[in-house]
Amino acid sequence: MTRLDTDTLRRTFSERTEQAPQGLGMLETVLAAAPARRKRRRRIQAIGLAVAVTAAAIVTPLLLDDASEPPSPSDGPRTPLTVTATVAPESGYESRYRELYGGVERLGIEQRGVGSDRAAGWVWVFPPGTFDPQPYRTGEPVDVNGRPGYFVPRAEYAHDRSLPFPGTPMPPSTGFDTRVAWQAPDGRWLLYRSHGEQSREVALGAARSVTLSEPQDARGPVALPDAPGDLPIQGVGLRDEGGLTLEVSYGTTPVTAKDDPAWTSTTRASLSGFTLTVFPHKGLRDPMPVDEPPYRIGEIEAWYTESPTYPYVRRLPNATLPNAVAQPNAAALVVVAGTCVAIVAIDDTRQTPRAAAEAFVADIDFRDCDDPSTWGPLLR
C-alpha cells in the first residue's frame, strides 16, 4: 500500500476531479426553484415574526433584510449592442444575419457555396438562466466543440408554443426541423434550429461552426445618440447582403430573453416606439421619394410622410422594409446622408412627434456606409 502522505492525498483527490458531476441544466433548475423557495422563506419568516410579536420580542434588522425581495436574475435586458458569437471561417458555414435582443444573440447560418438549396438555420445564444434545456434532454447526447449537448433530429415547430411571440400571433405549427442544444462553459445555452429537417452531419456541422468570444461592441455605419423620450433599444438587426443593413428598434416594452426565439427584427415587440433602418444608398433605382421635393435637416436631405402606407419606404428593396404594418398615427422620416440612407419608421406620432424624430436624425453621426473600415460602435 502506498505510504499515506500529503502528495498521496492530493493525488487521490486530483484523480477524482474528472468524475465530478457536470452542472448541465442545473442553473436553470436553480432559477426555476428559487421563487417558490423565496415564498416559503417569507411565509416562515412571517410566522416567525408573528410569534415574535406575540412574545413581544424584537425583530432583528437581519430578519427584516431577509424579508426583502432579492432582484430577479432576469430583470431587464442586457445591452443589445454587444456580440459574442461568430462562425469560424474555415468551418464551411457562414453568417450574414445577426440579431441582438434582450441579451439574446441570433445568428443566421448557411452552408458556404453549395448552391441555392444549401442548408441553413439559426443559432440562438441565451444568457445563463434564460433557456430551458429540458425538452432537449431526450435527444441524442452529442459533443459540440468539447461541450455536452443534445441532438434532436426531428422537432415540431410546436415545440416553441409555450413561448410568447411578441407583436404578432403565433404562426401555424406545422412542419419539423432539426435542432442541437448545447451549453457553453460560462453557462450560456446555444440552440441551433435548422430551416427544415437536416441530416445529423449538417446540423452538427452548423452547431460546431459557432464560436464564442468575449463581448464586443456591435459595429456599424452610425453612432447613435439617445432616442427621443429616452426610449430604450429593444433589438438590433444586422444583415450583410452586399452591404450592411442595420435596423435598430426602440420601444417602451423591452424584449426579454424569454420571448420567442422566432422573433425577427422585422417583427416588432411593441408598436410604441420607432425603428431606425440604415443601409447603403448605392443600388437604389431612383432618388428617394419622388412625390415631393426634399427638405433639409442640417446637411442632410429629408422627406417626411404621415401616410400610413409608407409610400417612400415601399420603394426600397424588400430587405429594408421596417415595420411595414400600416397603423393610424404612423409616419416615416427618410434621409440621405452621404453614402447612407436612414429611415425612421414611427409607430405613433403622438409619442414620437416629427420634431423629435428630426432632432434624433440630426444628432446621428453617419459614417461611410460603403466603407466598413470607417465603422465603429453603434452607441456614441
Partner: protein
C-alpha cells in the same frame, strides 16, 4: 456580480468540491443545487460580501455536514465499479492508482467533519485557520480532526498491508517445513 454570472463561473468548482466531500456524483449534484437555490434566495446579501465564493463553499460544507442529521444517504456502493462510475480516471494501474482508489474508499468511511477537514486541507489547499472559519471552530480543533483522520486512515492502510503480506509468509513457512 449577478447570480447567473457567479453560478456560471463557480458551479464546476462547487460540484467538484461537493463530490470530494461526499464521494457520490448524484449526491454532489443535489447538494450543490440545493445550496445554489438558497444562495440565490439571499443573493442580495451574499453578493456584497468580500468572498461570495467562500461563503457559498461554507454553505456547501454545512449542507454536507448536516446531511446525516436530515436524511440517510440512500446510495449504497456495491462494487468498486459502482463507486467509480463510468468516468473512472484512466491512470496506469502500476502507478499506485489501486492504492489511491482504496484510499478514496477509506476517505468515505471517515466521520464527516474529519473528511471535510481533509478535503479542505488537501483538495482546497486551505490553511487550518481558514478551515476553522469554514467549520466554525478553532484552528486547534481542525488540527485535532486532521490528526485523527490521518491516524484512522494509516491504521486502515497498515491493516490492509498486513493482510496482504500474511498469505505470502504462510506459503513460505509451509514451503520450508
Amino acid at each position: 456580480m449577478r447570480f447567473e454570472e457567479f453560478a456560471a463561473a463557480r458551479m464546476p468548482s462547487l460540484l467538484r468540491y461537493a463530490f470530494m466531500l461526499c464521494g457520490d456524483r448524484e449526491l454532489a449534484r443535489d447538494m450543490t443545487q440545493e445550496v445554489l437555490i438558497r444562495a440565490l434566495v439571499k443573493w442580495r446579501r451574499i453578493e456584497h460580501l468580500d468572498r461570495p465564493d467562500a461563503y457559498v463553499r461554507t454553505m456547501l460544507t454545512n449542507e454536507f455536514l448536516s446531511l446525516r442529521r436530515r436524511k440517510a444517504v440512500a446510495t449504497v456502493a456495491l462494487t468498486y465499479e459502482a463507486l467509480d462510475g463510468p468516468a473512472a480516471p484512466a491512470v496506469p494501474p502500476d502507478d499506485g492508482f489501486a492504492d489511491r482508489t482504496d484510499l478514496w474508499q477509506r476517505l468515505g468511511t471517515l466521520p464527516r467533519r474529519q473528511r471535510a477537514v481533509i478535503v479542505l486541507r488537501y483538495y482546497e489547499d486551505l490553511a487550518d485557520a481558514e478551515i476553522a472559519d469554514v467549520l466554525g471552530c478553532r484552528a486547534s480543533t481542525v488540527r485535532a480532526y486532521a490528526a485523527r483522520a490521518i491516524a484512522t486512515l494509516r491504521i486502515a492502510i497498515d491493516a490492509d498491508t498486513d493482510k496482504d503480506k500474511t498469505p505470502a509468509l504462510a506459503t513460505r513457512d509451509g514451503d520450508g517445513s
